[in-house]
Structure formats: C-alpha cells, structure tokens
Symmetry: C2
Subunit: 497 residues, 2 copies
C-alpha cells in the first residue's frame, strides 16, 4: 500500500515537472509570436505578503528571452508616490507591443493597503477602484493582453513564512512593518481583497492560486499565461468598441459661431498683461506651496499664435516650477504603446505647472483625419480622454484646455507674412500649406471634439485669436481665475474629499 | 550738472534695454540655426543662494521658442541622489541636438556643498572634480556648446535678499536651511567656489556676472550666450581628437590565442550550476542590503550563447532587484545625444544588478565598422568609455565585462542548427549571415577594444563558449568571486575611501 502511494506521489511529481517544462518551452516560443503579432502583455501578480510573488515571477521568466520582458516592482518612494496620480507608475510601466511586463504587486495592493491604513478616504478608495477599471479596460481595448493572479496563503502559512524569513539573518530585512501589520489584520485584508477582486473583474478576470503549493502554483500560472497568450494570438489584436459614458459636459459653440472680431487696444493690453502676469507669479508661489498640479493644454490652427500665447503665460512663472512639452509625432517606442502613455509619462509633479503645446487631442484630429489610427480607435478616444482627464482632476489637478482660434483669412495673412519675413521664414513649411488645404475637413472634427470632451472638470475654452493680444489677455484671465479658485478651495488631494 | 547726470542715466538705461532687446531677438533667430546645424547647448547657471539664478534663467528664456529648450532644476530627492552616481542626473539632463538645456545650479553646487558639509571626503571631492572635467570635455568633444555662468553677490547683498525673501509670507518658503548655512559660511564658500572654478575651466571657461545689477547681468548673460552660439555656428560642430590617458590596464590575449577546446562534463555542470546559483542568491541579498550596484556587460559573437548565459545568471536573482537591458540600435532621441546617454539613463540603483545584453562597446565595433560614427569618434571612445566605467567603479559599482567567444566553425554549426529547427528559426536572420561574412573585419577591432579597455577596475573576461555549459559556469564563477570580494570590502561608497 505505502509503496504504491509513494510511487504515485513520485509519478505525480514527475508529471508536474514535465508539464512545467513543456509550458516553459511553449512560453518561449510564444514570445516570438507575440512580437510578430505586436501584442503587448501585462501580468499582474498580487497576493499576500510572503506568499511567494517574487519567486513565482522568477520561475515564470526563468526560461524566456530577457530582451522581450520586463519585471517591475513598484517601489514606493514616498516623495514620488504622493506627488503623482495613483496610476502614474503603473501606466508608466506598460510594455511596448510584443513585450511582456510582469508586475510584482501593483494597483490592487497599493489601493487596498492605503485604504485599510486610513491613508485615503472611502470616497477616494472608490474613485481608485473606478480608475483601475478604466485603466484595465483602456489597455484591453487597445489590444493589451492582461493576466491577473492573486497568490493566496492562509494565516497560519503566512505566520510560518514570515517567521522563517525574520529568523534567518540573510532574509530578516525582507520582513517589513507593513507585512507584520497585514498579518495582524489578516481578516480585514481578506474581506478587502475579496471585495476588490469582485468589483475589478470586468476587463480582465482574477485568478486565485494556492501559494502554499509552490510548484503547482508555478505550473498553474504558466498555464494561465500560455493559455491567455494563445487565445490572444488566436483572436488577433482586440480593438475595443466606442462607447459613450455620461459625463457632465459644457455646451460649446461651433467654431463658425465664434466672434473673431474681438480686439484689445495697445494701452489696455500692456496694463492688463502686467497685472495678470504679476498675479500669476504670486499664484504660482501659492500653488507650489499647496502642491496643486496644473496642466494647461494648447491646441489651435497653425499660425493662430499658440507659441506667443504660451510665452506670455510662461514668462511670469518660476522656471524651476514649470515645463513646456512640445508634442510632435510619436517616437517608435511611444507609438508602440497605448496612445496616452506619452502623456502620462510627462505629467507634472504636484505643485508644478506643465504646458502641453499640442496634446493627446491629436488622436481625434490629425490621427483621425490622416488615418494614423482606426475609426474605432478615435471614436473610443473621446471617452478615454475624458476618463484620463477625470483622473487628473480627481487627483487635484487644474486642467484647462485652449483652442486658439483664427479664421482662414487671418491664417493666410500670417502665412504670407511669414514667407515674406526672412527671420520668420523657418516657421512656415510646405506642410503648413498642405494642412491649410484641409481646413474644411478639420473644422467639423474639431467641432465634434469640443462638444464631446468639454467636461465640467476639464473644460475647453475657444480663444479668439485674430487679435493675438486679445487672445493672450483672455487666456491669462482664465488661468488666473482658475488658479485663484483652486487656491481658495483649501486644497487637499486625497483626504478631504 | 545733476540734470546732465540724470539724462545720462536715462540714456544708459534705454541703451541697456535696447541692447537686451536686440540680443533676445538674435537668440530667437539662433534657435533655428542651432537646429539646422544640429548643435546642442548646455547653459549652467551657478551662483550664491538668492543671487537670482532663477530670475536670470527666466529672462534668458523669455523670448525664445519653448519647443527647443528645457530648464532643469536638479531637485535633490535624497533617495535618488544617494542611489545613483554623482553625475547621473546631469548626464540625464543633456539636450538633444539642436536644443538648449538651462541648468539652475548643477554639478558645482552639488559638489561644493556636500564637501563643505562633510558629506563627502576630500578624496571623493577630488574625484568629483575630475569627473566634472571629464564630463565637460566629453560633451565638448561630441559637439556640445557649453556656457558656464557664476552669479555673484557679496555677503551684505545676500543678507538683504535672504531677509527680504524670509520676511514676505509668499516667499518665505524659498529660504531654506542650506541657504542660511551658506550665508553663515560665506567665507568658506567663497574660497571653495573660487578653487572649483579655477580647476574646472578646461573644456569650458567660467564667466562671473554681478548678480547685484540684475538688468546688466541679464544683458551680459544674453551676450555671452549669443556669442557662444555664434562662435559655435561659425566653427561648425566640434569633434574632439582622440587621446590616450594612462590607465592601469590588464594584458589581454588576442582572440586567436584563446583555447576554445575547454569543456565541462554534464555531471560537473549540474553540480556547479546549482552551487553557484545558490551562492549568487545569497550574494544578491547581501548586495541589496549593502547597497552595492552591479553592472554586468555582455558582448560576443552571434550565436555564442549570450542569451542562455544571461538566463543562468539571472535565474537565481530576485526579479525585484535586477534588470536586463537589451541594447539595439539607438532610437532617434538617443542618437541625438552623446553616445553614452542611453547607458547613463539605464544605470541601476545602488543594491541592484543590471545586465547589459550588448553595451556601449557598440561604439568601437558596429558603429566603427559600419561607419555610423566618424573615425575620431570611435578612436576617442576608448578613453571616454574608460572614464565612464571609472565613474561607475568610483561610485562603488562592480563592473564586469564578458566577451562570449566561439570560433567560426561553431558559429556555422549553430546557425545551421537554428535554420533546421523550426522553434529556433526566428533566432537567425539574413543579417546574421551578413555579419558572419564580416568576421575577419570584426576580429581585429575586438582585439583592439579588449586591449584598450580592460582596465583594472572594470576588466574584460573572454569566456570560452564553444561549450556553452563551460562558459556559463566560468561566467558564474567570475561573478560570484567578484561579488564576494565586494561584499567583504566593508563597502561604503563615498565616505570611507
């Protein structure tokens, strides 16, 4: 009897080992297919402290090509963690097409732990859960394969493991106070994890694995991953359908309805410019101290006066506290990721101002009209953008968007002047003339964009810029007013609302 | 009399203002010429606390196009500052070709302040000065225009300004304890700044401006900048001459002398692999705690077995503590900077291990042989690389470089096997066959590289890899030995040596 039992046990062990080996080699083969299919993969490993997340990842990657994956362990640098939006570090970590990112704990652990420790309010926790769902859906909709695993061990097992780690001098440092606290609060964590998994399974389901049986967990995780990739390869790149979430929108006029005859006289301009710039310097100081992030977005027709407008806004700011991000065509490593990645990675720290000279709205203008993305992509983008901006304003950011507007005649006059002025000639290229010919194609797209993305929290302002000076004063006024309001609100990002 | 004096004063003021205006518009025009000439510019503004560095930069940028410059205020995040080499954040900040970076204090302030505060030893301070000189020379030699300005105010003026700032509620927060300490130690700072400027004027001279006279300082700084750029445009992109610094080198054999018949039998391989990997896991723990950075560099012939070798080294490591950086052709934004920029920005934190799968040695191999850089560039690179690696080992890093070596016949056998094995076919491309034809051109270049860059502090190891298993064991042994030595040395980066 016992001999048979032993034999069976040995056979099972051998079978497990053989199965794991096969899966390893399948995964290695899949890496190449992923590259061919340009499919990116996100593998999130969450679970209890000491459940073996690190070791599991180590096994998952042990046989694959290091050139095409990346392991990310979001280390909490308090300075950075508090100074960027919740999802910042996770969005930053998403892989390029054809590659795999393994996350050694991520958005679940961060949200749950902060909530249980009362570092964020219930309301903020709920917002974060919504953001997680939006984040995962956005990734899925742009073709990311997502695999989420929760590595489970019971309280007794956790105790044994933490004890084992703490007692050996080489591993003692691995046990930190958060781990011990989690162990103490095992029950509260259990219900929080449970709840979290229940309500974040829409875009990608959770898979719970038994962390106690290490080798089985490795085999099962490999199997989940290989199956997920197989299915992804089989179905081809998933492209999400456009959808429309109800968000509070501000009614916008059509561009053709805008009164472009507005002007300002030279004397008023000078006085107002000085007054507003002085006030902006003061407000920048307050914003810096209150740690309010500010994001100013500029879009507009060629030669509408974006550059000069930005310069007038930037001039009174402390150069240590602001950045201007000129946005050109995406670089290859940007093009190979979710279209918002290059904007997420350029977000300002709290207390800083950043000015985007052209923005993520390229998605629904040039990328739409020149066919750089598919129809579903740009149609879906309105909501993705609204969600992105809501994450920013939820974080506490002031987000203002300016459409610098002129009419066709004014553009022609400015183009001609640029061509006739040697110092300005570099500002005008053949491409500008070609774009000009597409004015009538662009205008309805811009109208649509303004209608669909002028949310209450991140509104659009159409700036009448036939008179550039009028436009500058108007922009400055809007900025000053918005910053005054933000400074008054006794701002606190997370705990107060 | 007094009336004439007043008149003269008014005229001077108007002249100053007119001159400044002209300089502003010349600088704006130069931005375009810089882009055409692909010249990058670094402007370093150092000076006393409250001397007006921020305001000066604000004026310098006030009229230029924000798309083509960048202001960097190296904020000291203690976590980051201590965990990367001294020059890390400055190298990271260098501009792309055609753009300008303004630094609001930089390597001078950082070095001097840490030295006077006894946060680094005299010896480390001297090393940092040497590193600064090497850094500036390397930038100059690859075509960067460098302008260095020191903004000076006397002790009384500094007192007034700090008092003014501290007394106004909006600016009070700007005065920090470092500023007050500097004021107290004004005399010591004076001689330290003086000395620093004297010995760091080789690649780019210092310019001292009077911070008391703000408007004159702006005009003078603009003039220095415009003149520097004019001269740069006039002379064209500077390309530094190759030079040879005496560094302690290890004698290396020629590749043709290497005994490739070495092998290991299967049983020994398994036992040794297990023993070495177990030891490496232990060492990784110690290294993490002692905060020793480790940089492992892999180069070698195609199909020499780099990938498999790296996997055996990576397997026992904690995935949270290491990264593999596969190095392919540079992306456009990398190509537009100093060739070492993309490696500087990929350095590991202290306590972490990073593995480069191909490295900066591409400069003296593929870039040299395919003509991707000029002859002076690759000839100069030997020393630039030696200096770079010395900065790493001075910082406390373990730097090991492996040339994974096989002979031509073995490569042919492996290529053929790859072509005949469906799962491996993706590993072999036409380019591999083309590269193979260039073997005899590459071999002498590699021999030269090994001779010229095998320094005592960052040695090369030629790994005999006709038997891949032998190669893996040999590499692991070298790594284990080097890490044991580093752990024994009671490592402390800055203060102890």
């Amino acid at each position: 009897m016992l001999k048979d039992f032993e034999k069976k046990k040995r056979e099972d062990k051998e079978a497990l080992s053989a199965e794991t080996k096969t899966l390893h080699s399948r995964l290695l083969g899949q890496q190449q297919l992923l590259r061919d299919a340009k499919l990116p993969v996100v593998v999130l490993i969450e679970g209890w402290a000491a459940a073996g997340k690190g070791s599991l990842i180590k096994e998952l990657i042990s046989e694959i090509d290091p050139r095409f994956y990346n392991v990310v362990s979001p280390v909490i640098i308090p300075e950075n963690d508090e100074r960027y939006p919740f999802l910042y570090q996770y969005f930053k970590a998403i892989p390029e097409n054809g590659k795999i990112t393994f996350l050694d704990s991520g958005w679940m652990e961060s949200a749950v732990q902060k909530f249980l420790r009362h570092e964020i309010t219930k309301a903020e926790y709920k917002r974060r859960i919504r953001q997680v769902n939006e984040f995962e859906r956005q990734l899925r909709d742009s073709g990311y394969l997502i695999l989420k695993i929760f590595l489970h061990i019971d309280k007794e097992e956790q105790f044994e493991r933490l004890k084992g780690l703490a007692e050996a001098p080489e591993t003692e440092w691995r046990v930190n106070s958060e781990d011990l606290w989690q162990h103490k609060e095992y029950k509260r964590f259990t219900s929080a994890y449970d709840e979290f998994m229940k309500i974040t399974s829409d875009a990608a389901p959770w898979n719970i694995l038994d962390g106690k049986r290490r080798k089985t967990a490795v085999r099962d995780a490999l199997k989940l991953l290989v199956d997920r990739i197989d299915r992804g390869l089989d179905e081809g790149k998933y492209i999400g359908n456009p959808f429309e979430e109800k968000m509070a929108l501000k009614k916008m006029p059509r561009l053709s309805e805008v009164d472009l005859s507005l002007t300002i006289d030279e004397e008023d301009y000078k006085a107002e410019l000085k007054r507003l710039q002085t006030r902006l310097t003061e407000l920048h100081n307050i914003i810096y101290r209150k740690k309010i992030p500010v994001i100013l977005c500029y879009e507009g027709w060629d030669a509408a006066g974006k550059g000069g407008n930005i310069r007038r806004v930037a001039y009174p700011l402390d150069p240590r506290g602001f950045d201007v991000h000129p946005i050109a065509s995406p670089l290859p490593h940007e093009l190979n990721r979710h279209f918002l990645w290059r904007f997420w990675t350029r977000l300002p720290k709290t207390g800083h101002i950043c000015i985007f000279d052209r923005t993520w709205y390229g998605r629904v203008m040039v990328e739409r009209l020149e066919g750089f993305c598919g129809e579903k992509d740009w149609k879906r983008a309105y909501n993705e953008i609204n969600e992105f901006e809501r994450m920013l304003t939820d974080w506490g950011a002031v987000v203002l968007k300016f459409w610098i507007h002129i009419d066709k005649e004014t553009q022609l006059a400015r183009f001609t002047e640029r061509e006739n002025t040697p110092e300005k000639r570099w500002k005008i290229t053949d491409e500008d003339w070609r774009n000009r010919e597409k004015w009538d194609m662009y205008e309805p797209a811009i109208d649509e964009m303004l209608q669909k993305t002028s949310t209450k929290n991140a509104p659009w302002y159409i700036i009448e810029s036939n008179d550039k000076k009028y436009a500058r004063i108007r922009t400055l006024k809007i900025i000053v007013k918005a910053l005054e309001k933000a400074c008054d609100e006794n701002f606190s990002r997370i705990m107060d609302k």
